[in-house]
Chain length 381, copies 2
């Protein structure tokens, strides 16, 4: 069978590597002499180049947002439910650009790459990045693609932070900004969870201060615990309860029964942690969580989000999910309130959902899908 | 200066060790040939022995609930704000008994004790315990003290589970049951947090499968991360935000500034984790979290809490705190609803508090204190 992909899939996609040789000065003052970005695109750029949509990924995301890498690939890209022909980000209309961010571990220059100054992997010496650094590299990518303005910049969670930063840094370079399950800055609790995850990584002896690649080790136990912490907080209490309850995987509470008793949720979480630790890079996890923590949209605007958003020139769609306690609807309402006071055009929806923070990735949520589709359809190209 | 303790303190207290030589068969079928419990008492047992109150501790608690161990001791017991002359658990009226539970690491028999069969520390071989095992040992302690009925059994969190279990197992042995910030069973999310904490401990190479004492090591990094996870979930998002916000401890976000940027909340959490890991035993932490996970009040009552509570003979006070998301008011309302349907006498209060699950320990909460005091004052002795 030549092609068994679903009809509304973008089908087979091939990532492309873009080299950038112009040095980049980062927000923290350090400089990269050059870097590579891995990019996927879906759909066709129109002649006027007015139909390009940039998709920004979240903490553990990458360039592979839609479609399949091989004919027998069973698992499509991470946002395949929302990108494709007839889907909310409709590839019959839009030319979609998705990249692995700088500092990532899926092919773009990051801690696993070779530091040209030492000839060894960067590891823990890779510079700390800020959301604005990603926007800077995405801007260069936009230029390289010959695009002068995005129809929309779209992102969930950390991706939403990139979208908002675009609206402030390059107000003329996007017409729409779609911010899903995001926040203008993290709360202390969010930073606390991220720091605990980092400590789980740092305290793994195989982390070797970030230089595990040189030593031939991998801090898989630490990264696994870090992912478990994250995973719990991306789901909702209710959702987890409905999915797993107190169901046992093994053992019994009968007197004298064999130990240990094991709940389904424990098995599930450990599996998630273990799988993640085999495919993700610990230094990238540290780098991405730091970028999340450091983001503060209004920091350079006298801590006033209204003056920050005065700089924006685009329209906004903001979406939150009722059971998302990590990026709660309250955080999205703060964005919407600031936008409104800055007299920007904003559509806001709070979607009833049991899926917690993960909701922005989860399919079969009719209201979310309908709203997202309808907004994207309204974008003139 | 002979004694500088506050006037409403129980003052200097000395823990006492009780030996029990009658073998104890545990809920899981294993047997302990004997064990020791470390106990503190405050106030005086009256002649009729009707004024005894049992205080049950939570996950990381111990026998030292009130007063001071030495004249220059700066830090009183963990519930000193609520136990003492004129305090809610008024030692002018009550004889208060507080113990370190079996399996603990503050002097009672537990994983750090010597296994008489091997002559070495139990370590990871110490039996898994259930809340009912603690109630069984507390019952023997009651007998030893010559008490036939508690005026009240009182506990917060895991302590509340012990209090409820008392009401079912020994209905004639308590007149009042005070259940604070507790639940009839943990949700999947709660189990998930506990399992992640355990994995942090297990994945520390110094844990050596629970036999670190024999090897002369201590899984301090794992225990520290475990405590950080717990600590975040005992506080509320709002409370953490008000206390720490996004204040920096060091570093700056100015371009070109020295790294790393460090938030106050990160320093605080790491400090909490490190301190805890120096004073607590990792095997006990695993054992206590498992007891929390395994507790299910109505399991042996056909999963019907109403039939369970039909067995109770005492009156109940149930208290929850609005910002407690780990043992939310909803969990307490479930207790109250079951008690009401079982036609038991119950007073319930949902206390407005920003302190999350920790609220049951935190002083200066007038409504909590007034209600707690008033209920305890109403107990006939």
């Amino acid at each position: 069978m030549a092609n068994a992909f679903p009809a509304n899939s973008v089908g087979l996609v091939t990532p492309e590597v873009f080299h950038f040789d112009t040095p980049l000065t980062l927000a923290n003052g350090r400089q990269l002499s050059g870097y590579e970005l891995v990019v996927e695109t879906y759909g066709t750029l129109n002649t006027a180049k007015t139909n390009a949509v940039l998709v920004c990924h979240a903490l553990s995301g990458h360039h592979h947002a839609a479609g399949y890498h091989t004919l027998d690939d069973r698992k499509p890209g991470w946002w395949d439910h929302y990108i494709g022909p007839g889907k909310p980000i409709d590839t019959d209309r839009f030319f979609v650009v998705s990249l692995n961010n700088l500092g990532g571990c899926h092919g773009s220059t990051g801690p696993q790459s070779i530091n040209p100054e030492t000839g060894e992997p960067w590891g823990g010496d890779f510079p700390t990045l800020r959301v604005r650094d990603w926007v800077a590299t995405q801007y260069r990518l936009m230029e390289r693609l010959g695009i002068s303005q995005w129809a929309a910049v779209v992102g969930g969670s950390l991706g939403g932070m990139q979208a908002m930063r675009w609206s402030l840094e390059h107000p003329n370079c996007l017409r729409h900004c779609v911010v899903i399950a995001s926040a203008m800055k993290l709360s202390a609790q969010n930073i606390a969870f991220n720091e605990t995850a980092r400590q789980a990584i740092f305290s793994d002896p195989d982390f070797v201060d970030g230089h595990y690649l040189k030593k031939g080790s991998q801090p898989m136990r630490g990264l696994s615990v870090a992912r478990m912490i994250g995973h719990i907080t991306y789901l909702s209490d209710d959702g987890m309860g409905k999915k797993f309850g107190r169901e046992l995987r093994s053992g019994s509470f009968e007197q004298g029964s064999e130990e240990p008793v094991e709940f389904q949720i424990e098995t599930y979480l450990r599996y998630q942690g273990n799988s993640f630790s085999k495919t993700f890079d610990a230094n990238t996890y540290v780098l991405m969580t730091r970028a999340l923590d450091y983001f503060d949209l209004a920091r350079e605007y006298n801590h006033d989000p209204v003056s920050a958003f005065h700089h924006a020139g685009c329209k906004f769609l903001v979406i939150s999910f009722t059971s998302d306690w990590r990026f709660s609807p309250e955080r999205s309402r703060e964005i919407v309130n600031a936008l409104t006071r800055a007299e920007k055009d904003v559509v806001y929806a709070e979607i009833e959902s049991p899926y917690g923070h993960d909701a922005f990735l989860v399919p079969n949520q009719p209201r979310y899908e309908a709203l997202f589709r309808s907004y994207m359809q309204g974008i003139t190209i």
